[in-house]
């Protein structure tokens, strides 16, 4: 009798598990049947299959894209995911298979393997880590599936393992910061004054930190009246940014400019400055230059505590779609592609904010 109860329990659990796994599936399973057809096509027409496929394709022949995302750790990341999801919609002729790796590279490797088996047309990866991609990308290459990397760069022994990379030019962001600052100081009539700068760096070793620090340092050399008093990491967090700024304020009493390598650290720095009884922003003593340009940064600029935020554009979807369209048409694409990024000073913040997607 007891055994019988157990079996019932087992059945119940089984049914739960499978209803979970199966529930979302009914809504879309469009790829399937045409897989066989295109296989037949390709056997006869060899290399030119991509184009013939497209030409003879009925409207329901979607391009299947597998996208492995890092996770959902920040607003920036969520905007990035949304950009992909809205670009690769069925209305635009795509089917997106999305996988959230929960910040784990091993999950991404599994996801890519599954994409290969599902015969996707393109694999897009926003890598968790820069390293460790050789083996699985080799498998994708052997299966003939182009791989597009977005956001972070990867470090592989053979560059042919990925077709293209789309992301931010952090070095250029550093240049933009210098350019804006020079123009700003000029407009305030302080171009000849000695300017003291401190930098709140991002997590040391991250590509954003390296690019922004180096870009700024490189262009800053042209301005002999600028002095970099100190650079310290605030690890991209608000609390650490505040802490480091507090120690800067104790060590130096004549800071003119704060460079915060992301918006969160800038918010921390603003808190520290205000707590020390100083003012910052367009009308304050200290100029705040920040990076990323997330929505909250626009709020800070509107409130008058931040001078400028240099954009780090997460909207990679359209750019990736452009690459896929070109590849599908048999064209070659540039290996490294930077997304367009703007500079948003406080004066225009109020009018630009409503147009921002993130």
């Amino acid at each position: 009798m007891k055994r019988f109860h157990k079996l019932i329990a087992l059945l119940a659990v089984l049914m739960m598990v499978f209803s979970l796994a199966a529930c979302g599936n009914n809504s879309k399973s469009t790829v399937g049947t045409d897989t066989g057809e295109s296989t037949d096509n390709t056997q006869s027409s060899g290399d030119a299959e991509a184009t013939t496929d497209e030409a003879s394709a009925p409207s329901d022949d979607l391009i299947v894209v597998g996208f492995s995302q890092v996770g959902a750790e920040s607003d920036w990341r969520t905007a990035n995911t949304e950009s992909m999801k809205s670009t690769f919609s069925e209305a635009n002729g795509y089917q997106l298979i999305f996988d959230d790796a929960q910040q784990k590279q091993e999950n991404q490797i599994k996801a890519v393997r599954n994409f290969i088996q599902q015969d996707v047309d393109y694999i897009v990866i926003a890598p968790v880590t820069e390293t460790g991609w050789d083996t699985v990308l080799q498998e994708a290459k052997e299966a003939g599936i182009p791989v597009i990397i977005v956001d972070r760069m990867i470090d592989v022994s053979d560059d042919s393992l990925f077709t293209a990379w789309v992301g931010s030019n952090f070095l250029q962001e550093g240049y933009n910061a210098v350019e804006w600052l020079a123009g700003y100081l000029d407009s305030k009539g302080r171009a000849e004054e000695p300017i003291n700068i401190v930098t709140l760096q991002g997590t040391i070793g991250s590509s954003a930190q390296i690019g922004r620090t180096d870009g700024f340092a490189e262009k800053m050399a042209a301005y002999s009246n600028w002095t970099m008093l100190e650079k310290q990491t605030g690890e991209f967090t608000q609390s650490k940014g505040q802490e480091v700024m507090e120690s800067f304020l104790k060590s130096y009493d004549d800071i003119d400019v704060v460079i915060a390598e992301n918006d969160n650290m800038a918010f921390g720095a603003i808190d520290a400055i205000q707590a020390a009884g100083k003012t910052c922003g367009p009308d304050g003593d200290i100029t705040i230059v920040s990076f990323d340009a997330v929505a909250a940064a626009f709020d800070a600029m509107i409130a008058g505590t931040m001078n400028v935020s240099i954009e780090c554009n997460p909207l990679h979807g359209p750019r990736v779609a452009e690459i896929i369209q070109k590849l599908d048409a048999g064209e070659t694409v540039d290996k490294l592609q930077y997304v367009e990024e703007g500079v948003f000073p406080a004066e225009t913040a109020a009018e630009i904010k409503p147009t921002r997607a993130y």
Binding site: N114, Q117, D119, E142
Partner: protein
């Protein structure tokens, strides 16, 4: 007479449920994702390729759980192994074979220290291995907080050496003929599994392991040196942990502090789903293999489905674990009643 058959049944019963569950899940996967190639041989092989390290870690974990212990340091040990391998080969320019031997020795020492604390000082395994967890993760960060990519030629040859099947190839949508393949890491994992199945089942050491976990008092009376058995189990598990780390690094080719977080929990879940009893004395390494495969199947389900949040893996595993633990407690309470 009646009672003896029943007792034997309850152990087999857990294992049979696990195997049955896996088969049913897989068949349902094939049916539901028929149009997405779920039934392809390579999808099945990928379960092993992606989880080779976990198979070895779960084998060690099962052995530890059979003695009534637990080892939650495995994930950190794996991260430390990957980092050590990457650091020795890339920064120190060491030979890959030498680096492998060194990490296995490190694993042995790690296991011996943990085992000694547990067996001879009678400290709770959970506490000892919790300290081990923090220590190994900390040491990983001490070696390097950067990601180190492994580019050692010999190592990459190992990592990329595919064993192709001579049959079952299929042309994919891109018009490329792809044969099913495995990596050597899978074979190494399966050999380890079979080896430990034989050791646990047919050697004096193996029987002592079950005796210690089943009832320490009676094991003592049977003349089993409990402390030595425990020390050996943790030492072997230490080596298996670093070996799992080696297999893991073959898959990821990198050393990084954040790697393999929560891996120990996956190993424990696999063992438990595979029929190992946390109270000790019962368990089977083949069961843990199926535990690993079930986890892999759920993950495959979720990527094939394509729109579901991958957190459903964790939720489903949680449901399964709850189910198996309840089942175990029902079975053990019955065992106690009878004896």
């Amino acid at each position: 007479m009646n009672f003896r058959i029943k007792k034997l049944d309850s152990k087999q019963f857990l294992l049979l449920i696990t195997i049955g569950l896996f088969l049913v899940m897989y068949l349902i996967g094939i049916m539901v994702f028929q149009d997405k190639n779920f039934g392809k041989l390579q999808v099945f092989l990928n379960l092993f390729i992606s989880n080779a390290g976990l198979i070895v870690a779960a084998t060690g974990m099962t052995m530890v759980i059979i003695t009534g212990g637990i080892d939650i340091s495995v994930g950190s040990v794996i991260a430390m192994t990957c980092m050590l391998l990457a650091w020795m080969m890339e920064i120190k320019g060491m030979n890959a074979i030498l680096a492998l031997i060194i990490v296995l020795v490190v694993g042995l020492v790690y296991g011996l220290v943990q085992g000694w604390l547990i067996a001879y000082l009678k400290i709770q395994p959970f506490i000892v291995t919790l300290a081990g967890l923090f220590f190994a993760r900390g040491m990983t960060a001490v070696i390097s907080t950067d990601m180190i990519s492994i580019k050692n030629e010999l190592f990459l040859t190992w990592a990329n050496a595919k064993i192709y099947f001579p049959f079952g190839g299929a042309v994919n949508r891109k018009g490329v003929m792809v044969y099913p393949y495995l990596y050597p890491s899978v074979l190494l994992a399966l050999i380890t599994l079979v080896l430990f199945f034989v050791i646990l089942k047919y050697t004096k050491f193996g029987r002592s392991v079950y005796a210690v976990g089943g009832n320490e008092q009676s094991a003592l009376m049977m003349g089993v040196n409990i402390r030595r058995i425990k020390l050996k189990v943790y030492a072997v598990n230490g080596v298996l942990g670093t070996f799992a780390g080696f297999l893991f690094s073959l898959n990821t080719c990198a050393g990084f502090v954040e790697q393999a977080k929560g891996f120990e929990m996956e190993a424990i879940a696999s063992s438990v789903i595979g029929g190992a009893l946390l109270s000790g004395g019962v368990g089977n390494v083949f069961g843990s293999l199926f535990g690993v495969l079930i986890k892999g199947t759920i993950e495959t389900f979720i990527t094939f489905q394509g729109t579901l949040s991958s957190w459903w893996t964790k939720i489903t595993i949680a449901v399964l674990l709850a189910f198996f633990i309840i089942l175990q407690s029902v079975l053990t309470s019955r065992k106690v009643k009878h004896s």
